[in-house]
């Protein structure tokens, strides 16, 4: 069970809803992934073309928990405004704080992220900040009362996987709230590794939506996250330099 604030989830995969080749593919991928938390962005509506399809309208919102993000915000104040807009829909209390500090790397602005987190916790939101893999910042976000920390594995949409497993494990070791690895996951192996490191969940989007077969990749990610979690709970063996025989040495019928 993944517990975020007062909410519990069976699935440890959080799925983004951006950039799918079609709504049909997206619908199928979401279903196959078994994800229960879906992220969205908040944007101006094109009111002059209201008949444009919208994924949310095709979704059973009783079945999924919506996690809107504050993407587009560059300051804490902008993030807080987007969070309030999202909440006013009446569909969600959760917010992914995403305050970007660099257009090229899309890495978060740590200071504005912390400020926005403090403010939104006070406002009663369930707050999940997207953060860099910095253990000190993760601790400060926890102290600010966030309900999960979401360190990036590598830059958003880069598919580079976990470039600093040591930093991630530092965050996981000291965590008192769930750690959800968010951004940069490229393959099922990356997702499994995140879970084996002890992460409580993985949030990904591009790895599925831009895969050659998004539906199949959604299934692969779901299985990888489950496998990684089971492996973590089971406890892996220590690495040794030399071999250790698996078969007994006694009772050999030859020699």
């Amino acid at each position: 069970m993944l517990k975020i604030g007062p909410l519990s989830f069976n699935s440890r995969l959080l799925l983004g809803t951006g950039k799918y080749p079609s709504y049909e593919t997206q619908k199928e991928a979401v279903e196959v992934s078994q994800a229960e938390i879906l992220t969205f962005a908040v944007r101006r509506m094109n009111i002059f073309e209201p008949s444009q399809p919208n994924f949310l309208e095709q979704l059973d919102t009783n079945k999924y928990t919506l996690l809107p993000n504050t993407a587009g915000a560059k300051t804490a104040a902008e993030a807080v405004r987007i969070a309030k807009l999202a909440k006013a829909s009446g569909l969600c209390d959760m917010i992914k704080v995403e305050v970007i500090g660099c257009d090229k790397t899309l890495l978060p602005d740590p200071i504005e992220t912390l400020k926005a987190t403090e403010e939104l916790v006070k406002e009663g939101f369930i707050v999940l900040p997207y953060t860099s893999d910095d253990v000190v910042l993760a601790r400060k976000l926890q102290e600010a009362g966030c309900h999960a920390v979401m360190p990036g594995a590598s830059p958003i949409g880069s598919g580079q996987g976990i470039i600093n497993p040591v930093n991630l494990s530092f965050i996981i070791e000291q965590a008192v709230v769930p750690v959800i690895v968010d951004a940069g996951v490229g393959s099922p192996a990356d997702a499994a590794l995140a879970m084996e490191l002890g992460a409580d969940g993985v949030l990904l989007n591009t790895a599925v939506s831009a895969a050659k077969d998004p539906v199949k990749m959604a299934k692969a990610m779901s299985l990888a996250i489950e496998a990684g979690r089971l492996g973590y709970e089971a406890g892996r063996i220590e690495k040794k330099r030399y071999a250790t025989a698996s078969s007994p040495k006694e009772g050999m019928s030859i020699g």
Binding site: G18, A41, V42, M45, L56
Partner: protein
């Protein structure tokens, strides 16, 4: 009246008085939208009671795909 609607200056027909009227005019009253008038974010219950005035700055937002 003329309002600034999602960044565009729009002349609204006279029969539009409230935010609810505006949403119906654009045929988006059944959709999941959030409206902000002059920086004030409205919840759905306030759509009917919020009256629009000349030069109001109105933002209508919704949820789109994102990660």
């Amino acid at each position: 009246m003329t309002v600034l609607l999602n960044g565009e200056s729009i002349q609204l027909p006279e029969q539009i008085v409230s935010v609810s009227d505006l949403l119906e005019h654009y045929e988006i009253h059944d959709k999941v939208v959030v409206v902000e008038v002059n920086g004030e974010i409205l919840n759905r219950l306030e759509h009917q009671s919020t009256r629009l005035s000349d030069k109001d700055r109105i933002e209508i937002v919704h949820f789109v795909g994102g990660g």
